[in-house]
Amino acid sequence: MDEDKLIASLKADLSPVQPLGSASRIALLWLLVSVAYVLTVGAALGPFRPGFVGELLGVPRFSIEMILGLAALVCFLVVALLESIPGRAVGGLRRVGWLLLLAWLAQFVIGFVAPVLEPSMLGKRDHCAWEAYLYSLPPLAWLIYLQRHRYVLEPVRAVLHSALAAGLVPALMMQVACMYEPGHILTFHVLPIGILAAFASGLTWMLSQRADS
């Protein structure tokens, strides 16, 4: 098609569009709704670990651990939203997110030697890993929906960061809802984040390869 004809047809196709909302406002809304959803469903399906409020307020290392996880979540969430706007530089924030995630994971590795809380079976939920997968899916679907309504240039990376953000919500909830023992946390609360992220980004890669061919 001739370039002038293309421009004329694009002009004819023009319709008013809604400008994007503020990414930080959307991120805050997503975070509040996702946390509320995960806490509500989590509480409906089983009791939270007795004494978790006292642990959060009275054990500084436990508070720091939760803050690290929450900060990583917020970074990945903002990165996921900004990555769907062409030309927005998110490299620095992405690196901070990964560093925070590693620092959060390091707490559990250190916990094998010097646990933050006394490891115990108190509060154990029978299907915590399945719950972690299940709870993360609606927030993930919502985040991908938000991205799709923008303009994603790097779909695999965008979905990877979305899955990390969505996976961290139930993982953090399990920190107060399920038993505290580093091995259990890594296997049943943290691993689902990795599997979800790998699966979601792998699927996106396959779909984009298929769309390319």
Binding site: L10, K11, L14, S84, P86, G87
Partner: protein, 183 residues
């Protein structure tokens, strides 16, 4: 449309204003914007990628992408990063697809460029097939470096890998091409 920083700032302000009007549905402003950007995109692609065979396709793909992404521009933010992020991405997509879409004889003609330091191809159809038999990464690296003339650094940036990885891929790609020819 280029030149001094003042000219660039003026262009930015004009394009941002037109796009803001286009977001509200102003077709005249949109037509002016696309008409001007077509030239800017063409100049950018030539400066960045050289004179591509499918330059017109790349410009048109970019214009289409801008149309689809027009709601993501935030008035008040710089225009150029938004514009060139889309153009770069669409062009890389086009270049990636090119070897697959190119007829074998054309692919052969491209592989036969002097920049290619692999074996002298004797049979156009054969070499086209050989290139297609390389893995995606190897083929893309060879196309970018040996055919499109990207530097190792530029190729590494585009593929999101280190320069060493690009060098290894070029070496492996050429070796594999030679091996495939000998079979």
């Amino acid at each position: 449309m280029s030149g001094t920083a003042g000219d660039k700032a003026e262009d930015e302000a004009r394009w941002s204003g037109w796009l803001a009007l286009a977001q509200a549905g102003d077709g005249e402003a949109y037509g002016q914007l696309l008409g001007e950007l077509a030239g800017v995109i063409r100049a950018y692609l030539i400066s960045r990628f050289g004179r591509l065979d499918n330059l017109d396709d790349c410009v048109q793909e970019s214009l289409l992408a801008l149309h689809q992404a027009r709601h993501t521009f935030e008035p008040g933010r710089p225009f150029r990063p938004w514009l060139f992020a889309i153009v770069r991405n669409k062009t890389i997509d086009q270049l990636r697809r090119a070897p697959r879409e190119m007829p074998a004889a054309e692919a052969m003609a491209v592989v036969d460029e002097p920049a290619y330091d692999g074996p002298e191809p004797g049979d156009a159809i054969d070499t086209g097939r050989l290139l297609a038999r390389l893995s995606h990464n190897l083929r893309e690296t060879l196309v970018l470096t040996k055919i499109m003339g990207f530097s190792t650094r530029e190729c590494a940036d585009r593929q999101g890998v280190s320069e060493s990885v690009v060098k290894v891929r070029v070496h492996r790609g050429l070796r594999k091409l030679r091996a495939l020819r000998e079979v």
